[in-house]
């Protein structure tokens, strides 16, 4: 495996890649003993200077002369010492280092500073290879087939219609097709039936819910801010809806970038300014005490790291503390970026100006009224509270009564403990007080209650969306920690051309730094923006990016499997107006995408990870897809879009570990029909993930997640098998399937869950199962629910071919 990869990129990629690969190799194989922590023989191999300086044995390397370089001799068997001690390097690795030293042993930092790292150079114009092969439907196919042929592999046959529609729907909607949808597609004899299907799926609003989820993973979205109190980010969902709507509207990606990074500085329309919610939906500790300084550092770090990672596909975090070891990003560069975000203050977008003002005015008046209302409640309660408290106290031991009677500073330690322990117990509850009121007072209480309710009966979230703006036209000074004499001006990464951001023109309300950043990133000339975006879409469709490290295009990135295809896709993407929907078409209409999942024997030996795409890669449903597919099959899926997060009912044991009282932290949505909406609308608390989503690898929403894990664990099986959720949905499906005899029921349950009829063997099996379970459980309905529960747990249900 490793041999193939190294050989490939050593031969076929530009010279600059050599440096990255060589240095990555040193890092993997050598630096645990000759690195920043440990320097055996006084040698470290993590910077060029250190290698040239060498250790106790003298210089480790002579640029241009591998045979004169100690480093090369010890790794190639040319010295009495053989390194690394864990076993010799492979031939490809040795030749990589030989080439690298011959070429001058240039460190990637220098290589990229000289603008040679491939992903830092402008996207090249590339023409698809011309291959005479009927399999080639689109240029994508030509690029793929060229590589397959070079490796002695061939493409798999086209998948059948049932497989294609299930694959396309889960990829674009995150929901499987129903039996009726499959049948209609199978019967469509039009030559462009598949093209029409893809277009139809792209036109549906279900698309934004699936692709919005992908984006929310990247921008570490959550509905609460985390930490002990885990308070609500009350309006975060507006940003979630904005993301869904942006995908549905096929908002050009350059515009989407600009709205999120600097919507407030670039656009007048409130809708566009909503994008800056991007900055507000991450974790923060705003509500903790006396940590404003730490929180600010963390927030700035989050903005720089997340923005670089999401939009540029660069990991810059290392440069917060020191110059980046592998990429040409200096600590100064890091703080130049930070200076762009330093002026940020949180704000609100008024979605409708007049309504928003009116809302604020109503809130203002309401509060004023509430102060007086509460006064009135308290005056009415006061005599009864006093009486009840005295009565309760009288029930307690004499010692406790004395403790209460003693002045606070006169109490003994035991009395203090008693006072502490019993204070709550002697406090009268409202219901106790209210039961003692006179008829007149009760009437008054009712009037008060009515007034209170009328203040709130129309209460709802206001027409606001979370956003940011700058504190003013001058940003606060930014320094590298420890170098406070030297202010760092805002600017771009030197390796990508650099440049300072000038001060704003006179009269500007903000620094316009983020506007400059947004326009720089969203430029068609930017070498990374389009490449990173198309690669993320490729990963979602094919299971692996052309560059597998989708959020890292730096020197430590995985070499591109199809570098020319990446260039071509990036150019196409920009040329077609940064349209994601066009990009999906480009990928999905290819023959590559339509292949079967069955690998050929050759593929299994030559390319077990399927990076050359000789067949389609099977995937497991993602956490949300599992839940949504169960709801769809049960017929309970509520398709309502948008709105404030839904809190579904969970079993007490599932809520274990919540950091706050459930009455505050898990306020179950009062309308039960909301509980079966799509998972993207369920609340995502940072301190608590819904157990079923958690076990199926939903990320925590703290760090940007570019690729989810797809694990297989017994806790997944337990959850899908035994949770109340599965059971309730199975019962719902059973209730809807109870027509006719056991054959009919079996058919109905198969059609709902697997979107097909059982074959003859399966029908026999299902009928026998229903008979047996009816005996064991006492009713056909319960037996049918068991059939449903079983089929929800099958691999046919959980995987996409």
């Amino acid at each position: 495996m490793r041999f193939v990869v190294l050989l490939t990129f050593a031969v076929s990629l530009p010279a600059a890649d050599l440096k990255g690969s060589a240095v990555a190799l040193l890092s993997q194989k050598c630096q645990s003993c000759h690195g920043p922590q440990v320097q055996l023989s006084g040698l470290r191999l993590d910077t060029r200077e250190a290698i040239l300086r060498g250790g106790k044995q003298g210089a480790a390397l002579t640029p241009g002369k591998p045979q004169d370089s100690l480093l090369f001799r010890v790794i190639s068997g040319g010295d009495k010492v053989a390194m690394p001690p864990t076993g010799p390097l492979g031939p490809a690795e040795v030749s990589l280092l030989r080439e690298w030293i011959t070429a001058g042993a240039v460190w990637p930092t220098e290589a990229v500073a000289a603008k040679k790292w491939w992903s830092f150079e402008k996207v090249k114009p590339v023409k698809p290879p011309v291959l005479a092969d009927a399999w080639v439907r689109t240029p994508v196919d030509a690029f793929i087939l060229q590589q397959l042929r070079a490796r002695g592999l061939s493409a798999a046959p086209e998948a059948d219609r049932r497989t294609l529609i299930r694959r396309a729907m889960l990829d674009l909607h995150g929901l499987p097709p129903t039996a009726a949808e499959i049948e209609a597609f199978e019967k469509d004899s039009a030559p462009d039936a598949y093209e029409k299907l893809v277009d139809r799926l792209l036109a549906s609003t279900r698309y934004g819910e699936k692709w919005g989820k992908n984006w929310l993973d990247l921008v570490r979205y959550g509905d609460t801010s985390g930490f002990e109190q885990d308070p609500y980010l009350l309006y975060a969902w507006r940003y979630r809806d904005y993301v869904i709507d942006s995908f549905n509207a096929d908002k050009p990606y350059d515009r989407f970038v600009k709205e999120q990074l600097a919507g407030d500085e670039i656009y007048e329309e409130p809708i566009a300014q909503q994008g800056t919610g991007y900055y507000t939906v991450g974790p923060n500790r705003d509500m903790l005490f006396k940590v404003e300084d730490i929180n600010r550092v963390e927030t700035m770090t989050d903005f720089v790291d997340t923005t670089s990672s999401v939009f540029l596909g660069l990991t810059v975090g290392c440069a917060r503390c020191h110059d980046h070891k592998y990429d040409p990003i200096s600590q100064k560069d890091y703080f130049r970026l930070q200076a762009i975000f330093a002026p940020i203050v949180k704000s609100r977008v008024f979605l409708t100006y007049n309504l928003a003002r009116q809302y604020d005015l109503q809130e203002n008046t309401r509060q004023w009224k509430l102060y007086d209302l509460a006064d009135e409640f308290q005056r009415m309660k006061a005599p009864y509270v006093k009486r009840l408290r005295a009565e309760k106290l009288a029930q307690l031991p004499q010692a406790v009564q004395i403790a209460f009677a003693t002045e606070e500073d006169q109490r003994t330690p035991q009395q203090k403990a008693d006072f502490e322990m019993f204070t709550k117990k002697v406090a009268p509850r409202d219901d106790e007080v209210f039961s003692l009121l006179t008829p007149d007072e009760k009437a008054k209480l009712d009037r008060l209650k009515t007034r209170l309710l009328s203040l709130y009966s129309n209460y709802a979230p206001g027409p606001f969306s979370p956003s940011v703006t700058d504190s003013g036209p001058l940003g606060p000074p930014v320094y590298i920690p420890g170098k406070e004499s030297d202010e760092v001006p805002p600017g771009f990464l030197s390796a990508l051309g650099g440049g300072d951001i000038p001060p704003p023109p006179p009269g500007s309300a903000t620094t316009l730094r983020r506007k400059a950043l947004a326009e720089w990133i969203a430029s068609p000339e930017h070498p990374l923006t389009a490449r990173v975006a198309v690669n993320r879409v490729w990963q979602a469709h094919f299971g692996r990016g052309i560059v597998a490290t989708t959020s890292d295009f730096g020197a430590r990135s995985t070499p591109a499997t199809h570098p020319e295809l990446l260039e071509w896709l990036a150019n196409e993407f920009v040329a077609k107006g940064w349209s994601f929907k066009q990009l999906h078409r480009t990928m999905m209409l290819s023959s590559v995408y339509r292949q079967q999942t069955k690998p050929s024997p050759a593929a299994l030996t030559k390319d077990p990870e399927n990076q050359w795409l000789s067949h389609f890669t099977r995937r497991r449903l993602e956490a949300e897809e599992v839940r949504d597919a169960v709801l769809l099959a049960a017929g309970t899926l509520n398709p309502k879009m948008h709105g404030k997060p839904v809190v579904p009912a969970l079993a007490a044991e599932e809520l274990y570990g919540m950091s706050q009282p459930l009455g505050n932290a898990w306020v179950v949505t009062s309308d039960p029909t909301e509980h079966t909406r799509r998972s993207i609308y369920m609340i995502s608390r940072r301190n608590f993930r819904m157990p079923m989503l958690e076990v199926f690898d939903r990320p925590e929403g703290v760090l940007s997640c570019a690729r989810r894990e797809s694990s297989t664990t017994p806790t997944q099986s337990l959850s899908l098998l035994n949770s109340d959720f599965t059971r309730h949905q199975a019962l719902a499906l059973a209730a809807a399937s109870l027509k006719g005899d056991e054959s009919a029921i079996s058919e109905a349950v198969f059609l709902a869950t697997l979107a097909r009829r059982p074959d003859a063997n399966e029908l026999t099996m299902a009928r026998d199962f229903l008979t047996k379970q009816s005996q064991l459980l006492g009713s056909v309905e319960k037996a049918a629910a068991e059939l449903a529960r079983g089929l929800f747990n099958t691999n046919e249900f959980l995987y996409v071919d």
Binding site: T86, F227, K598, E694, P714, T715, S717, R727
Partner: protein, 458 residues
């Protein structure tokens, strides 16, 4: 035949906790050490060091006075002002214990008897003075959530000894101030996550069959799933992921018998239960947790994390207003169970291979909050360890004369994490996981002051 590393790992991932992938990839990661597992006793809410394991006579001498000179400069917590608050003498006596003469306060009469087993580190320090960031820091090395916890790293590196049980088990009193992220897997695969064991017959979430489903019916349904899956697999035999999921249902079924057995305390003798204080009102709860911890490590669970204290009930943090009441109560609830655990492990020969760690997210201010309270204090506090070949009866490091700051042999959380991994036979520099293109470590870029050799060499 495994056709690729991915498939190998998938297959290896059938059980709870994968076989260590980093460990597989890096020779010499696992060194021969005595510690095979850890029981980590986490005192939730913050235990006062100056009232437990770090005596400060100066506090009695200057009781009621503010700190001299500029001693309080640079120290911050949310509730007190170090320049104005007054010193508060410990209400408890400290006594010298065992041959070693280690001083432990009367809060821990049972633990005192084990003094010669303890290596007490009095020079712990951190920089987070709120609970959630401090708990995150103590468990994951970072104040922000989202990073894998110590337990997750440990089982990622060590792999599993019993695939019918989770390798990393957590027992808490419920509401953790940090949320469940404190024992999360962060960016590691979900398999390394701490599994919360609850009291009762079904310790693992969703272990029990749904209400009304008899064992026979459950078996019937599992059999249907298996038959359907095998038919599906017949045309997809090259994909070991599918096979792994088939096995995961078999495993889930086996767990339904094994896990309840692991938590069934009826099989323990009356003497053993008494040792832990089970059936005594104050000690029953934590006693059960400690006894369960022993039963779990006996069955090959690698990392058991116990929390004492909760955001929504009795907590060490009640010391804000009531040092005396809170610490009396919380110590009373855990002293005998902890001592019982040490005794029981030792008598069963398990202490040699089991590392017991006692810690908390921070200490408490030597200065008074209000009249009889202490605030959070991360600048100097105590952790102790026992078992797994540690030379006990010794003290490492110290705080200044008022217990304010760790001064000698200062140890931050990374040093402790590096040490714990080393005791388990792993090099904290080599136990890495590639995320966001960095080879992430539990100790980030720190851990240079680990003290394994001090612990092991008397």
């Amino acid at each position: 035949m495994y056709t690729s590393r991915r498939q190998f790992l998938t297959r290896a991932g059938q059980g709870f906790g994968f076989v260590a992938l980093s460990g597989m990839m890096q020779e010499n990661l696992l060194a021969a050490t005595k510690a095979k597992r850890i029981i980590y006793l986490f005192m939730h809410g913050g235990v006062s060091h100056v009232d437990t394991f770090d005596p400060k006579p100066a506090l009695a001498k200057f009781n009621g006075q503010p700190l001299p000179g500029s001693f309080g400069e640079g120290l911050v917590t949310s509730r007190i002002d170090f320049r104005k608050a007054r010193m508060l003498a410990s209400p408890w006596n400290f006594t010298r214990n065992g041959q070693s003469g280690i001083e432990i306060s009367d809060l821990y009469p049972h633990v005192q008897k084990h003094a010669d087993k303890l290596a007490v580190i009095r020079s712990c320090h951190g920089d987070a003075f709120d609970h959630a960031p401090a708990i995150n820091l103590r468990t994951s090395g970072n104040q922000f959530p989202g990073r894998p916890s110590l337990g997750a790293w440990a089982v990622y590196g060590l792999g599993s000894e019993n695939k019918n049980l989770p390798s990393f088990v957590v027992m808490s009193d419920g509401a953790m101030k940090s949320g469940a992220g404190a024992y999360g897997a962060g960016f590691l695969p979900a398999a390394y996550q701490g599994t919360a064991f609850r009291s009762g017959k079904n310790p693992v979430l969703h272990l029990a069959s749904p209400d009304g489903i008899t064992p026979e019916a459950q078996k019937e349904t599992l059999s249907l799933i298996d038959r359907m899956n095998r038919r599906h697999f017949a045309t997809r035999e090259e994909d070991t992921t599918l096979e792994a999921r088939i096995s995961s249902y078999e495993l889930a079924y086996r767990m339904q018998s094994e896990a309840p057995d692991a938590v069934d305390l009826t099989k323990e003798s009356a003497a053993t239960k008494a040792l832990y204080g089970i059936d005594e009102p104050m000690t029953d709860d934590f006693g059960r947790k400690c006894l369960l911890a022993r039963r779990l490590v006996e069955r090959g669970v690698r990392f058991v994390q116990l929390y004492q204290g909760t955001n929504l009930g009795d907590d060490w943090d009640d010391a804000h207003l009531d040092l005396l009441g809170s610490h009396n109560k919380m110590a009373k609830k855990s002293d005998q169970p902890i001592a019982g655990l040490l005794t029981d492990l030792a008598s069963r020969g398990l202490l040699d291979s089991t590392l017991v760690v006692w810690s908390t997210e921070f200490g408490r201010t030597p200065l008074a909050e209000g009249k009889n309270g202490r605030d959070h204090h991360p600048y100097g506090f105590t952790t102790w360890m026992a078992g797994a070949g540690i030379a006990g009866g010794r003290v490492l490091g110290s705080t200044d004369e008022f217990g304010l700051r760790a001064v000698e042999q200062r140890k931050d959380v990374h040093d402790i994490h590096a040490t714990l991994l080393r005791l388990l036979g792993m090099d904290h520099l080599k136990l890495t996981y590639r995320y966001q293109s960095r080879d992430m470590r539990l100790t980030d870029v720190h851990g240079e002051n680990e003290f394994t050799s001090w612990l092991l060499n008397a």
